[in-house]
């Protein structure tokens, strides 16, 4: 068979669907997302994805899980490029990584945190989401010298920090925070530092 474009078995269809799915999601947003479109993109029949992800919810859950991995990486990357070792600076770095991811992959972000269209009970998704939360918890642990899981005040710090950065990011995406939207990136970061410092400063 010289034409090897369409072997009956794709080889690694699951990975290909995830990759294409992410692209489609970024292009069309959650509402325009279509399982058939993803299959078409990969060059496979419209009901092939079902064998790997069940239904649309399943694929979106897998994408969300992948999103949480990238999300964690974004926070870690900002911390890695942070010269300081001050716990406060490291927390802020996480916040900036949070924002980086949000702005880089808005549709994915909305999927992870807002959508009714994803199976929230997916085990892999729960694990990766928990890992991202844990990262923030450890930031606070380093800052307060006590684990949030053992100290209610520290847990309140986690919730406050999380709410602040998440609200900031969400409002930025929603298109309703006009004053901040119009800033360029450096100005926005400076503003965010100023705002974020209130909660832990």
């Amino acid at each position: 068979m010289t034409l090897e474009k369409h072997p009956y078995h794709h080889g690694d269809l699951r990975a290909a669907l995830l990759k294409a799915g992410e692209a489609v999601l970024a292009e069309t947003g959650i509402e325009g997302f279509s399982l058939r479109r993803v299959a078409r993109e990969v060059g496979v029949s419209h009901s092939a994805p079902a064998h790997h992800f069940g239904d649309t919810q399943g694929l979106l859950a897998a994408l969300a899980a992948e999103g949480f991995r990238q999300f964690l990486e974004a926070m870690q990357a900002r911390q890695a490029s942070c010269s300081s070792n001050d716990p406060q600076d490291l927390l802020i770095a996480s916040g900036l990584g949070y924002l980086d991811f949000t702005l880089a992959a808005p549709a994915l972000f909305k999927l992870m945190f807002g959508s009714d269209r994803v199976d929230v009970c997916d085990p892999d998704l729960e694990v990766t989401a928990e890992a991202a939360f844990d990262h923030l918890a450890q930031d606070i642990a380093r800052l307060r010298g006590v684990s949030p899981y053992e100290d209610a005040d520290a847990m309140a710090d986690v919730m406050a920090s999380w709410s602040m950065v998440h609200g900031f990011a969400s409002l930025l995406l929603s298109g309703r925070m006009h004053p901040v939207q119009d800033m360029d990136q450096p100005a926005r970061e400076a503003f965010f530092r100023q705002v974020f410092a209130r909660v832990t400063g």
Copy 2:
């Protein structure tokens, strides 16, 4: 004609569609929302809504605008039932109203702040959203003694407060803030007060 169930002209179809639309939205969520379903609910042909709202985006924009009105009312209601006149207490009351609305109409909240499926440029929507924002701005003006529109620090206060309460509400809805989710209402309110106080306290 003795049977007056289906007069050709509905009378006030626009209002009926809005009402049914809100119910459908609450029941099925944004992703499951269907224009035909709303029309069916009202007992009218599947393309009748087009004459009043154009397309789905149009109806959803109108619903979102209506949502912002209720949203503002929820904040005002909490303030009205607030015995204190302390600006700080009034701000917190707004925050609690913010939460009230979020928990009472989660789908509407997501529509107003998160959805790609609503026409963000709808004039009525812009006005009502602005009015809600203004309410918060006045809370800060009262607290700081200067208008946020004329003072950058006060505007930063607005953004910080808004981000905090919005993040708290969003995370609560997202189902990812487990520690707070499991609280009953009084405990959650107490916790929110504690968290929210950090940003303006």
